[in-house]
Subunit: 205 residues, 2 copies
């Protein structure tokens, strides 16, 4: 299948990073503009100037393509592990800072916006968020010996995504006018408690 | 205009609460299914079995109709004021409980889901959230004498909406499996700090 594709497009090697990147870029455009459900492999292939079979060859199916195209610019579990290795008591603010830095970059923000918009309305995108990103954070917290690692992972993501919504989507005045450093300092202690503090009021974690 | 409408539909009084409610119900259906932009006054009027002019008479324009149809089942500023009047030190958990109770009700959840889904992708819905809901919370915090009331209002909403996303939209395992009481206890101290605690790390609020 791949060979027949390349035979029709001489000079374009299917494994070439440029082709793969062109497909991912077309996929991002489509997923951000139309959402997961409405975007099609055929339409994305056409926009990238390749055969749909090549898209399948690279990414398996639409879900695989979505996962790759909308992969966040950072790996949450890796960010958490690195922050914990550096200074566990400052991990909350460090994670907030990394997260907000990614959103402040306009290219990365576009991917992140598409991911959140898809996740609030489409099960496939929600599943990717659940299984691809949250599961890794839960594993890290579990290794740390935290009680209720799944709940902690949810709470961490809830505060991070909530702040991104307030600043970049709803553009609530207070969140939009604050500096990223102020926001990181404000939500840092929240994340810190969700990582390794007492989870419930009164400290009965 | 209203009279001509009722003349064509004898027995149906334009001011009748049932008619108004039928329009609101049709509007909710349309906004949740299609989003703010795609929904039309004409389509909503047709679904409710009334003349478009009657919709305009009741709600002024599409924005007014959206604001009324998607009005959350609680008034955030009123919930905050009541919680502060009862026990300022327990306000965070009280607000979390009221918020989660509304989401647990399936009828109310539908409205709230439509509101959040619209707000992450459509400016008109985002504006309603900003100006209709957040502004009231900001005023309450300002009366309380809090520093940075706009930022505090954003942070409170960020944690609340973030938890709703985690539990009801993404259905992250930890947030979905916890009881509403556990979630309220877990985010209560966070909200409490955003209401009247030191906002930035180290207490330099």
């Amino acid at each position: 299948m791949v060979n027949s594709t390349t035979e029709r497009r001489p000079g374009r090697r299917p494994g070439a990073p440029a082709t793969r990147e062109a497909i991912l870029e077309a996929a991002r455009e489509a997923f951000v503009a139309s959402g997961y459900r409405a975007a099609t492999i055929r339409g994305i292939a056409q926009a990238a100037g390749v055969d749909p079979a090549l898209v399948m060859h690279f990414f398996g199916n639409k879900e695989g393509l979505f996962a790759e195209a909308m992969r966040p610019p950072f790996e949450p579990a890796a960010v958490l592990s690195a922050a914990l290795a550096t200074d566990p008591a400052a991990a909350g603010t460090a994670i907030a800072r990394t997260f907000l830095e990614a959103w402040e970059s306009s290219a990365q923000r576009r991917t992140l916006l598409g991911l959140v918009r898809s996740a609030v309305s489409e099960e496939s995108a929600a599943m990717m968020l659940r299984e691809g990103l949250l599961a890794g954070v839960e594993r890290s917290l579990n290794e740390l010996g935290a009680d209720r690692p799944a709940l902690r992972a949810s709470l961490i993501s809830s505060q991070l995504i909530g702040v991104a919504m307030a600043r970049y989507m709803v553009r609530a005045r207070g969140a939009a006018e604050a500096t990223p450093a102020e926001l990181a300092a404000a939500i840092g202690p929240t994340l810190q408690r969700y990582i390794n503090g007492p989870l419930f009021e009164g400290g009965t974690a």
